[in-house]
Symmetry: D2
Subunit: 374 residues, 4 copies
Amino acid sequence: MFKVGIIGATGYVGCELLRILINHPSVEVTAISSISFEGEEFSSIYKSFYKMTDLICKNKSDVIEKCEVIFTALPHGLSEDIANECLAANKICIDLGADFRLTREDEYKQWYGKEFFHKELHSKSIYGLPELNRDKIKTCKIIANPGCYPTSIELGLLPLLKNGLIDGKNIICDSKSGVTGAGRGLSQKTHAAQLNGDFAPYAVGSHRHIPEIEEILGTIAKEKINVTFTPHLLPINRGIISTIYTTPKKELMSYKFNSNIDISQKISSDKITYKEIKSDKIDLEEIYKLYCETYKNEPFTHVLPIGETASIKNVAFTNNCHISLHLNHRCDGIIVVSAIDNMIKGAAGQAIQNMNIILGINETEGLNFIAPAF
Amino acid sequence: MFKVGIIGATGYVGCELLRILINHPSVEVTAISSISFEGEEFSSIYKSFYKMTDLICKNKSDVIEKCEVIFTALPHGLSEDIANECLAANKICIDLGADFRLTREDEYKQWYGKEFFHKELHSKSIYGLPELNRDKIKTCKIIANPGCYPTSIELGLLPLLKNGLIDGKNIICDSKSGVTGAGRGLSQKTHAAQLNGDFAPYAVGSHRHIPEIEEILGTIAKEKINVTFTPHLLPINRGIISTIYTTPKKELMSYKFNSNIDISQKISSDKITYKEIKSDKIDLEEIYKLYCETYKNEPFTHVLPIGETASIKNVAFTNNCHISLHLNHRCDGIIVVSAIDNMIKGAAGQAIQNMNIILGINETEGLNFIAPAF
Amino acid sequence: MFKVGIIGATGYVGCELLRILINHPSVEVTAISSISFEGEEFSSIYKSFYKMTDLICKNKSDVIEKCEVIFTALPHGLSEDIANECLAANKICIDLGADFRLTREDEYKQWYGKEFFHKELHSKSIYGLPELNRDKIKTCKIIANPGCYPTSIELGLLPLLKNGLIDGKNIICDSKSGVTGAGRGLSQKTHAAQLNGDFAPYAVGSHRHIPEIEEILGTIAKEKINVTFTPHLLPINRGIISTIYTTPKKELMSYKFNSNIDISQKISSDKITYKEIKSDKIDLEEIYKLYCETYKNEPFTHVLPIGETASIKNVAFTNNCHISLHLNHRCDGIIVVSAIDNMIKGAAGQAIQNMNIILGINETEGLNFIAPAF
Amino acid sequence: MFKVGIIGATGYVGCELLRILINHPSVEVTAISSISFEGEEFSSIYKSFYKMTDLICKNKSDVIEKCEVIFTALPHGLSEDIANECLAANKICIDLGADFRLTREDEYKQWYGKEFFHKELHSKSIYGLPELNRDKIKTCKIIANPGCYPTSIELGLLPLLKNGLIDGKNIICDSKSGVTGAGRGLSQKTHAAQLNGDFAPYAVGSHRHIPEIEEILGTIAKEKINVTFTPHLLPINRGIISTIYTTPKKELMSYKFNSNIDISQKISSDKITYKEIKSDKIDLEEIYKLYCETYKNEPFTHVLPIGETASIKNVAFTNNCHISLHLNHRCDGIIVVSAIDNMIKGAAGQAIQNMNIILGINETEGLNFIAPAF
């Protein structure tokens, strides 16, 4: 049993990490910490853990000392020091905050208002999106666990951008997230009486996930990317849907997927006709084959058959990502819909997936959840 | 007191019409009809009307005979005959279905699978969006009440398109609607256990509101318009948010609103700086002035101060439309957010607004609702 | 137009008062106050009022000076002084807090931890439940507007207790309320992510509405009453259901309602048989007649036909109370279900009803809402 | 690996069984059946199972033939025949319907309108509430899995009734359930637009769980029991809270729990004082000790510390039952609050718990869920 711990265990992400790790067959949660609740039983803060754990919140030193893998679930700016300590002690630090997500310090300064404290650490960390960086993750000691919105968008666009098929200056990501994304803190915005029955965008054009999305998409595409990203707050607890609008490059007009891949998943709905998956510029079936091929070995990222539509319900409470592909006839575009659980594939689950990869155990261990149908 | 009636009173739209009309000071609901519930008391079907009305569902002839204004809230294809009868009897027919929304029969055939039964009626009807057609509505006997999604999108884009400021081939409308939009019929999709906690797009690229949106936007812009329209189903009862992404034409680069309009509404949030409302191509303040000027006499359509964001909560249960304007720095675009209550401004309320216009009474009569804050 | 004002306008109750009063045909809201938001436009705090009012929050003196009727919507202990000032200026004070609800100072001390500051005022105030005290309300200058839970329970039990038909020591009130009852303040309990999907009782056996319920029921019954009262928090915004379990006194065995009242409302469901409304001890039809007779002239309190069940949906957003009666065969008891909107009949609406009574205008003026069916 | 199967896999209970069993470490789901969807992939009906299973719905014979343990999740009246076949083939049948819950045929006829088809089977089946019947379950071939409401109520009352401490003729169970309890079928009642924001009791005094509750409570108490049972429909998906009002027998006045049990769980809230847990008749601490002792070895049924209140959130998505105890000072009663997930401890989870017991494996295997805190 590997010894693992959580720094910042009483925030929403920390709580979700603990919930999953307690039942993980190959690890033991040895220590947890919380500034707000130091000295208190975890189960007295989150009553759903009553009789399920007797862990007591200690301080961060206790976690670093006792554990081999340390998860940090903290406000930005607080994880660098901890990562530094972990590295010195030859331990693994998986950071669920933003401290290591951006590689450019100027971008970090602009969006987060802080400098890199330990500049040398940043070249040693890796962005923990397994679908992109699995091999590098295996040998890395500092993981920058991706943001929730970026995870949904990057997985949605990876096959198109990697193959240079869409215009990198004209990507529109209309994303919608459940309220857990706002965290445990209190505000009028998350007051139940305000949120019930409400829905709206927020931080239009100014959300901190923009530079992260643009950097990672740029890395994938090997060119500069600009995204229009609009997050919205859903009156539900969990899940993100990103509806992504792309414009094909000329290359897409005659794109043929270079393989004899067998599409075992048939076009699912009899409402969808052959006509509807072909336009002058785009053959959706070829795009679909490309996505299937890209993700064929991925344990959590699944491409839905043409005719299906990704939804939050079908991935909630799981580490899965569902991607559906749609042809926009009217304007010759490809619409990608990508759904994840913001707290799991968008946070705690992906962090544990990264841990599994680093520890060399089965990548799905402790994460084989099926979404409750209701 | 004008005598009014509802054909199809027991569907969701019919029910909402009745709820508002009962308290309208200048009309009396004289007769209602329902095929499914003919002969039954309305209050036995919708218990919230217990002791509030003693109306009994009769048949459509009864409504046409007794009333001066007839609202039809029926599945498409059933209103043309009724409108014909109304016209013959010199009565007013306000149709909340799709029968008169499209002027081109070929489009109607393609999207609704039917022909126009009474071709001559279609030139006599008018699309009942008061912000666009108020003068024509005043003297018209057949009103095609707009669809819910189209209302939100057309009001959101009218000032930009009328002034030729955006590219009519590159408009993306990402719309989200409450579940009442699906009507009273039963399906797994609207089963509470399925919808709770869920969110997803549907009918991607194939929703019947597309031709209506394109025709009306084309009329406004005086050019052919193509929209990418993606509806989503929200796990709430009421309201539509359309997040609309537009690309400026070159003309917008140096656009100055030609007036000394006084912007009494200041930029509302101190987080928004001057820098953030100007880009190389766009001066958001000028756009804002244009919207304010366009809608300055509108009783229901309100432009929010720069820095505010439209939300469903603030228009739910009202006939209001809230519009907010946002500059997309990253990609030099304008994002318009438009919010309405799909059942009121998107259906019953707008129909009654049209009635008020035709009857020559105060346009806000019976419709002066303020959205409950919770 | 009568001049009215609200002290404490930016809390939930104050906001709801304003929403209703703005559209009241016989009054003008002349001034409002708020300690937290003094000097700010009301519509900048509650955006749903954008363009619907230009009222600015002032201080309480401004309200008392300018208005004839003053509504106080404040934490307990803050209204006595204001009521005193109002009385001195010969103005009407309608208090939506708890300051005047209990007549016994010892009970007030025990449950609210404070003394009466102006003892002489308490004999001059009246408990503003119109169904109980309409005549006294007409000539009173200080109204103690009832609590939300007490309103639902008192209306549910009034006919039985007034006629001495049930055991006053064995009344169980299992009540459930929407989250607006908790007010605008922030807490983990009302965090949307906590409340979504949750339901639980709270303050079991210790809620401050207990002495109010017991006093008013005791006044009705002319004997000492003990209630078991358990409030629960519903994951919805509005509404209270009280499910009330009563045990008949022996007198009920042969109770015959002494009248030839015509029950125009028939037993509504064909599932309910004659057998099911009679037991050895109880004839539910007689009880039903008694309720109908008691409330026959009440504009807002409605007794549902036997076989129907009161629900929150059918009274939400209205000043109505729905009461349904059920026979408990197994244990020979009567179950009364009473439903109101906690913010309207349970607070703002009832306060305005009291105002209408005092001002001598139609009791339903400004309050003729029908519950939206969805 | 034991081979297990589900007959009626596409209803809500069947779907939940499958979701849990797929991840159960000691069993393999070998076959499933569905009348409505025979021949279809399970994952095409419930999309959350996409890529998580390739099971195809077959017919019931296929399940009986291939499996050692057969779960039946069917409308009442359809399981007897299957149980008969299973018994003949020496297989285990765990029935999640009502066919074997009542031992008296006359009661079954009265409430379900049918006779026992295989009378001899009923003496061979056992009511599968492990807390009551664990030893008998171990060797039984036909399990009557308890109803959801009965589970919550029986666990809440077992310690009090077993020890003869409360009046068996005066038990009031006010229960509230999420909408999954109504199953997958469609009705206006479960239409999302109807249920959102609503709450109401239903089937007052006439719910089919009444005879089940009374029989089992009677078996526990060794006397005839009458309950007043009122179910309510919550606008959430999962969970049941039963708020149970009991009246002490004289014996309770001087009740002392006959043991030196160490209460490791202290009184949790400092708001609760010693005074509040003692009345003339009742010492709540003694009752609490009794509950702790009764359930001390139970893996899923947990007694909360005095001062805590059971809630749905803390047991949702788990097989746990939370019980909290409250003293009703006003009326000298004990209020028991019992919370479960209606689909897990109230259905699928308890069935699998029974399977674990019969198979002789760890009782918590596959069921060690912690409730998500949000």
